[in-house]
Symmetry: C2
Subunit: 173 residues, 2 copies
DNA sequence: CCTAACCAGTTGCAATTTGCAAGCAGTTGA
DNA sequence: TCAACTGCTTGCAAATTGCAACTGGTTAGG
């Protein structure tokens, strides 16, 4: 019944690794967060890295059990399930921002896939907070109204991505 | 020869996961960074989570290959190897800080193992930078002099940890 | 000099996890 | 009515993990 029971240790890094420390969980959350994917097939067929369906099913199940996601019926389709981020997974935004910044600096990233990470890094905690508010609205159904003067983060990220893709399409390979 | 060759995708999150996305790599870096461990035996026998020697050997090899660590002979002992962090692994400090903060908030951490994470979060980017300077000095041998007025971060973390341990020793279990 | 402890791993093996391809029952839209 | 789509499941080979024992060499103490 101890906080440590069933875990290798009570260290916050270790406990996080026990949940997210595999080759796929973080990528699924990334796709839900930044790619706006909410359905199984959507995650499966648009996966950049080519996740297998059995792995996806297993990870979704685990993430739901761990409180990182919730699963609900889609009212528009009897077979469809909608997966949503929870508050605890939404609060991974700063973690994603730092990992994205680190990866963009040190690893052989492709330009069109790293532009969003760079933008998110430059935006800083203020932009992260705004993005988390947007995620709460669409995933938790919170009726928070956005500042009418601000451009939604997801829209900024989308525009930046498409700008790079268009530019590369015109000139390079 | 492309940036994507040999990788599942050029996404910074994915590339980071390919390096650190397993149950042990991040913990080894954590122990080197925050536990000041530099030798194989040291990492093996003081591992909170009980890593096996073959896994440790494999991960150290991989981390060296990936440029996250360097390995050198210890001049005081012919059989000893000294492992050091590199600039790229030192720059994971903000990532550790965010993960530690997230884990401390959402997971069943033990108080004595999370106090350092909380302190590092409260310290913010300024403290992270100072800590990275300290790591550069001891792992990269850089001759950067610390501001004489500031208490080293590792010392602050150590003091906070010991304070919790002492307090819990007196009262609780 | 002898010996026990210490050094960084290695080896063998069983159990678990992964990745791939194919398949499934039910649902929907044309 | 039927093809396409829904979220998975199954079977199986390959890779990875975890455990325990072991290795060849080094060093400190008596």
């Amino acid at each position: 019944m101890d906080a440590v029971s069933d875990h290798r240790s009570g260290c916050p890094i270790n406990l996080t690794v026990e949940i997210l420390g595999d080759k796929w969980s973080l990528l699924i959350l990334r796709d839900m967060m930044f790619g706006n994917r909410r359905h199984f097939r959507d995650l499966l067929t648009h996966s950049q890295e080519g996740i297998a369906s059995n792995i996806l099913a297993d990870r979704l199940k685990r993430l739901v059990e761990q409180g990182m996601l919730t699963k609900a019926d889609d009212p528009t389709h009897k077979q469809k399930a909608i997966y949503s981020l929870t508050e605890r997974s939404i609060e991974l935004v700063p973690v994603f921002a730092q990992i994205g910044a680190w990866g963009s600096k040190w690893l052989p990233v492709s330009e069109e896939l790293s532009i969003r990470a760079i933008l998110l890094e430059q935006g800083g905690p203020k932009m992260w907070e705004q993005f988390m508010r947007e995620l709460r609205r669409s995933h938790l159904g919170e009726h928070v109204y956005a500042d009418p003067g601000e451009v939604p983060v997801w829209m900024q990220l989308k525009a930046a991505y498409e700008e790079v893709v268009a530019r590369r399409g015109r000139s390079g390979a």
